[in-house]
């Protein structure tokens, strides 16, 4: 069970307090109607899924309830950093 640092609580807590929430920094378009079907498909479904450095979202669902971002290596499962939603991509 991995340990995750919640940037809001500023504590490392066990994974069962958190819910994974998919790839990070995929912003919902302000005007979805302007998106072509291809662009909308990309927003909905296309994911980076890298072997290595991955930007992802977690929610401290059994803690403060906040969504935040993280950079984790998907081969070692080790976190490089976690940071608050809204902060620039790291």
């Amino acid at each position: 069970m991995i340990l995750i640092h919640c940037p809001y609580c500023d504590e490392k807590r066990p994974e069962i307090e958190f819910a994974y929430a998919g790839q990070a920094h995929i912003a919902r378009p302000v005007d979805p109607d302007s998106y072509s079907d291809e662009e909308w498909e990309r927003f909905l479904f296309i994911r980076a899924n890298p072997r290595g450095r991955h930007h992802e979202r977690w929610r401290h669902s059994h803690g403060c309830g906040r969504f935040f971002n993280a950079v984790r290596d998907t081969v070692t499962d080790k976190f490089e950093t976690t940071y608050k939603a809204g902060e620039p991509r790291k």
Partner: protein, 417 residues
Amino acid sequence: MTRFSALSLFAKALGAHQDWPEQWPDAAPKASYDAIIVGGGGHGLGAAYYLAKKYGITNVAVLEKGWIGGGNTGRNTTIIRSNYLYDESAHLYDHAVKLWDGLSQELNYNTMYSKRGVMMLAHNVHDIQSFKRHIHANRLNGVDNEWLTPEEAKAYCPPLNIAADARYPVLGAALQRRGGTARHDTVAWGYARAAAALGVDIIQNCTVTGIRRGADGAIEGVETTRGYIASKRVGVSAAGNTSVVMQMAGLDFPLESYPLQALVSEPIKPTFPCVVMSNTVHAYMSQSDKGELVIGAGTDQYVSYSQRGALHIVEHTLAAICEIFPIYRRVRMLRTWGGIVDVTPDRSPILGKTPVKGLYVNCGWGTGGFKATPGAGDLLAYTMAKDEPHRINAPFNLDRFRNGRLIDEAAAAAVAH
């Protein structure tokens, strides 16, 4: 190819088994091939075999980064069934089940396909509605699947706890009698041996590091750790690593790779006659020919290539198994392991052409690819040979994520209201 039989086994035994030939040669890559399959799992090896056998394309290489069958082929819980809801899925998986039947004889390699029956447990009214929907759809599609009362389910699988006061009582079950299990490794080995006999090169320890495309965008070949190999037809059947390979061709894919764990118990004498699955409590189990209880656990929640899962997943799985089969609480877990499963947004596979000419893909089988092994191999071979999908795999195209024609079996099972 030395034909395998009781007779040849007897004859070789007299010579103390000193003159068995290699089952398949350890090939070194040639400069070019008519077709390349990336990924030496059951699916990829099957595709190579059918390319050679059915379509006469024998100048084929299978490139495997490690050892053949070492990915999900050798890590899964070997369940075979085809009682899927949608016509597209039912046809796809039933195509595979039909090929499983007789595969040992076709390959002259005993894949130990055992039609033990796959029973799926209903624990609430919603499950009943969903299973009945499957059963009726399967019946009209010519796929066997029948409803059992709790008592009939217990008669079919005596270790089952059907007490009405169980936390998740068994209200009935859907049984596919043709479903069952097979021996996973032998599927890869059997295909490898049969393909090699037809001229296919099985190349292990050969990692694809790049995909070369021509000025027109079409595939020209692949870069590998063992040098460049030219081919105008490349089929990618790399399961959890598909996204990484597709990136080499400049394609982003609707895939995510998750860790999936499984485990076996110590071997015990025959006690469990079939395969039982419970989606509601997240557990499934069968007993191998060796006597081990083979148990599938859930996926971890995050994407990962570590082939390493968390303990709490195993705890939950065994708690679920002990709820449904309380007589096994004293049985002991012998080994746990992890695989990487590639999951699409609608949980159905992608099998067909890609936007890159000459590049074909077979991926997204999630937690259920083993059962499709012969079918996926056959259909990938067809698609590569004809440069167009077979009608069975045509719906499993990439376009569906754009146009919305998803094949969402998981959503069809829906959630409790």
